[in-house]
């Protein structure tokens, strides 16, 4: 049983220590700095989206006023799609610097457009982001090791160990309370800046609590590892720094060796189609359509769009230049040809992510990282979801234009009121992931 008096005494002891105070200050600064950096980056992304939306609208309206047939509008009008940063993205930038979060797409074959990436500076992505997720998953364990490794050894070396044990009412309580008065301030200096930023950024209470739970969980796991090594009978004769070396070894294995081994094994075991093959296949299919009999394109098109089976004829009077219906039909067929490869590519991305989630069970830092990016909606799954949103939106564009091209109503600008608008899907509730 820990008594209040014990805690008070230990708190006095811990805060009398310059090294501990300094460590707490450093953690506080790092946490704040990482949050500020993530916050201002996400503000910039939000502002970029707003600027883009405005220009996108102007640009499209210009196309609508200049063109006078549906085929031309479909060719020239681009549509902005984007995945806005979630209210927690400032804490875990995640995959947003590698996967695209904005695309401008049009009615042409989607496979030729969706792999375009407007991502950040590759050198900065290579150096990595200094975000809150990094601080809590990679740095915090190191601070815990530094704070706790010589918990008992320090007293032994100062020859106070026995004295402390004898004078305390309950020798167990001293060490428990000493651990508590070290870790609770550590958790506080890490989390208080986070809570402040999440209030500013309008994250929900549930989301904030989720992140706090993950961070506290990570602190508990690492403290348990550190204390278990410190108390292990096997290491009873080791000096404090020897023990710390072992703790760092555990950090090394979980933070570096498990992930890179996992990565190597996953890469070797999951077959991924060459990305280049998808675009090459799609391009061949689209371009060869010009040289093929028109019927071949229609056959493949009608197979997936039986609705338009009777409307494939074309009126040379009306469509003076060439047949837009056929043009977009072979764009569609191009996508259909590459569909299998493209689906396999996405499936392999998700499969690798799935296996990675099992690998993460062996590595607390990786698990923390994954849980945080999951909570912030910046993980691989979220980025793939965005890709699928774009695919859905493109499908709705096709539906709109196919109607106007095949039914062939008179051109009217009013009909563009029905033009599909992209709206980003925001995840409503926190789904449970298998990692929880």
């Amino acid at each position: 049983m820990i008594r209040f008096n014990d805690i008070k005494r230990e708190a006095g002891f811990v805060f009398g220590h310059r090294q501990i105070k300094l460590t707490l200050l450093v953690v506080f600064l790092l946490s704040s700095l990482s949050l500020w950096s993530g916050y201002s980056e996400m503000q910039e992304q939000q502002a970029t989206i707003e600027r883009l939306l405005e220009k996108d609208e102007t640009e499209r309206n210009a196309v609508l006023t200049h063109q006078s047939n549906y085929g031309m509008v479909a060719y020239y009008a681009f549509h902005l799609t984007y995945a806005p940063p979630s209210p927690l993205a400032f804490a875990a930038v995640g995959e947003r610097d590698v996967f695209p979060w904005k695309h401008r797409i049009r009615m042409l074959a989607l496979e030729g457009q969706i792999y375009e990436s407007d991502t950040d500076n590759p050198e900065l992505a290579f150096l990595g982001r200094f975000d809150f997720a990094f601080v809590t998953s990679v740095l915090l364990p190191l601070f815990i090791i530094l704070l706790l490794y010589d918990l008992k050894a320090k007293e032994r070396e100062a020859r106070r160990f026995d004295l402390l044990n004898v004078t305390a009412r309950n020798s167990h309580a001293i060490w428990s309370s000493r651990v508590l008065v070290t870790l609770v301030p550590l958790a506080l200096v890490t989390l208080i800046p986070f809570i402040a930023f999440s209030v500013v950024n309008g994250a929900s209470v549930f989301q904030t609590v989720t992140v706090c739970t993950i961070v506290i969980g990570s602190i508990i796991v690492w403290s348990a590892i550190v204390l278990a090594i410190g108390a292990a009978k096997r290491f009873a004769n080791f000096s404090a720094t020897h023990l710390a070396s072992i703790m760092l070894g555990v950090w090394l294995v979980t933070t570096v060796i498990v992930p890179v081994t996992g990565h190597t094994i996953i890469n070797a075991s999951v077959d991924t189609p060459e990305g280049g093959d998808i675009v090459l296949t799609q391009r061949e299919a689209v371009n060869s359509a010009w040289d093929k009999p028109v019927e071949q394109t229609w056959e493949a098109f009608i197979e997936t769009h039986p609705l338009w089976a009777d409307k494939t004829d074309f009126d040379p009077q009306r469509d003076s230049s060439f047949n837009w219906k056929w043009y977009y039909a072979f764009q569609q067929v191009g996508d259909q040809t590459a569909k299998e490869l493209s689906e396999a590519y996405q499936a392999s991305t998700l499969r690798k992510d799935k296996i990675a989630s099992y690998v993460a069970l062996l590595s607390p830092p990786l698990l923390t990282q994954r849980l945080l990016t999951n909570a912030a909606d910046t993980d691989v799954k979220a980025m793939v979801n965005y890709e699928n949103n774009v695919r859905e939106f493109h499908a709705s564009l096709r539906k709109f234009y196919y109607h106007h091209l095949f039914e062939a109503p008179e051109f009217s600008s009013a009909s563009f009121k029905q033009l599909p608008q992209f709206s980003p899907k925001i995840r409503k509730t926190q789904e449970n992931t298998n990692e929880d």
Partner: protein, 480 residues
């Protein structure tokens, strides 16, 4: 004499390491990791080189195997270029996994590189990666700390330091011996790396580049060995020396490189490609649509051409006016596109250089900059790839436009949409597609890369000076 005593001290230290399991484990683990990283990476790079080589040949063959067509359709058919890895990327893959290595080249557009490998890594390699450079730059220093933090302070705590110094060993000899031991130990990590470099040197990489590359890693290891030995001498207790060294390692190897990246993103935000695209479009709209010969923007071109050939209408021109317009507008458009592309690349490079300034604060950042620049896996080399791809793009598009202007009759061309037969007539022969220049990407010449890395060598020199001063201070302060 100095060296003889130092050698004895070094041998003593080795005997101690072999006795204690922690040091032996660390040494073994480090050596194994480095070798594993080299092997895995070498296989990966070799495979990537072959795949890209194969895809490149295939792309060229497919282009040339196209049937008779309207030349402008070949402009839209486009071409792919793939970037092959450089020899030193076996050790330092740098930005390669983040950039994507294929670009689709077509008329009227500059596309970005596609399929960055990093997207397929499920976030596992965001902090760490099994690359020799990561192991050498980030993990090796930690290993050196783990085996060396107590090399002098241990003697002091055991009371043997007094003994040693009173027996006539000088402070310099003692520290030199300890340093020598740590250097020989760190060779276990360094040696596989140097051997790999030696192997690379026999490929078509400039020897000077390989030597400087090796040298920067050697210096980096020396720096850490010296700092560790010095700290172990300066601080009274092993535990203090340990804590201080781990904090130094955390800041230099883990914290500062990332801090640099975040600072660069925030103080010099660059507008993305999409946003730049809008500006490009705005500017291009004033230049006219190259598909439409009646666009008023081409009026002057038409008048000049009619005057040049002294005819009254475009029908009488000896060249196909549509082809001329395509050529003209593609050239003008490329100028605008390149202007914006250059701005973007300059911005990116400025960001990267801000992040690299952190080399004044951390030797890890300095050596990383040197390593990526020399290996040809830096942002500069990626930009070079983009520029070369653009040159090739403009070259083949303009060659096709030339074919359009000179080999396709204007009347047949204008009539192409009248019927299927008319369309079949408005083509040129497949023999015109043999216009692709072979794409074989090479990084900048050795001397360019070395001069790009010059400032980072200066950073490294600064660190050498500071470390030497630290060692001197340690010698002066060494008290039993």
């Amino acid at each position: 004499m100095i060296l003889n005593v130092a050698k004895i001290i070094c041998a003593e230290q080795w005997r101690y390491w072999m006795r204690t399991k922690v040091a032996a484990t660390v040494l073994l683990l480090g050596a194994m990791l480095t070798i594993a990283a080299l092997v895995v990476n070498a296989f990966h790079i070799d495979e990537a080189a072959h795949t890209r080589d194969h895809l490149q040949t295939e792309a060229e063959q497919r282009f040339e195997a196209q049937p008779d067509k309207h030349p402008h359709r070949m402009v839209h058919y486009g071409h792919y270029v793939f970037r092959a890895p450089t020899p030193l990327s076996v050790i330092e893959p740098g930005v390669d996994t983040y950039t994507g290595n294929a670009i689709f080249l077509e008329g009227h557009r500059q596309n970005s590189a596609m399929f960055a490998e990093q997207r397929q890594s499920a976030g596992l390699t965001r902090f760490s990666s099994l690359t020799p450079s990561f192991l050498a730059l980030v993990l090796a220093p930690l290993f050196i700390i783990l085996i060396g933090y107590g090399s002098v302070s241990r003697e002091r705590e055991a009371g043997t330091l007094t003994l040693l110094l009173s027996q006539g060993t000088t402070r310099w000899q003692l520290l030199l011996g300890k340093l020598l031991a740590l250097i020989t130990a760190s060779c276990l990590f360094l040696l596989p790396l140097l051997l790999a470099c030696l192997y690379v040197a026999f490929s078509n990489e400039s020897a000077l580049v390989v030597i400087l590359f090796c040298l920067s890693y050697v210096v980096y290891f020396l720096l850490w060995a010296t700092v560790v030995t010095a700290c172990s001498a300066i601080f009274e207790k092993s535990s203090v020396s340990f804590t201080v060294l781990v904090v130094i390692w955390m800041s230099a190897c883990v914290l500062l490189p990332r801090l640099g990246s975040s600072v660069a993103t925030n103080i010099a935000p660059s507008i993305g490609k999409l946003e730049a695209d809008f500006k490009v479009e705005e500017k291009l709209r004033s230049l006219g649509d190259g598909h439409d010969v009646n666009d008023p923007a081409f009026k002057k071109l038409k008048e000049d051409l009619l005057a040049k050939y002294n005819v009254d209408s475009v029908d009488d021109l000896p060249v196909n006016f549509r082809g001329i317009v395509a050529q003209y507008s593609e050239g003008r458009q490329a100028k605008v596109l390149n202007e914006f592309a250059e701005t973007r690349m300059t911005e990116e490079l400025e960001q990267a250089q801000i992040a690299r300034q952190f080399g004044w604060l951390s030797p890890t950042v300095a050596v990383r900059s040197i390593s990526t620049i020399l290996a040809g896996t830096s942002l500069e080399t990626h930009h070079r790839f983009l520029r070369e791809a653009e040159t090739l793009r403009l070259e083949f598009v303009q060659a096709l436009n030339k074919v359009h202007a000179e080999k396709l009759d204007y009347k047949l061309d204008m009539n192409r949409n009248a019927s299927e037969e008319a369309a079949d007539k408005a083509v040129v022969g497949a023999d015109n597609w043999a216009i692709l220049a072979e794409f074989d990407f090479k990084p900048e010449t050795g001397s360019t890369r070395i001069s790009n890395a010059l400032i980072y060598f200066i950073q490294l020199l600064l660190w050498m000076g500071l470390t030497a001063l630290l060692l001197q201070a340690a010698v002066r302060r060494l008290n039993p």
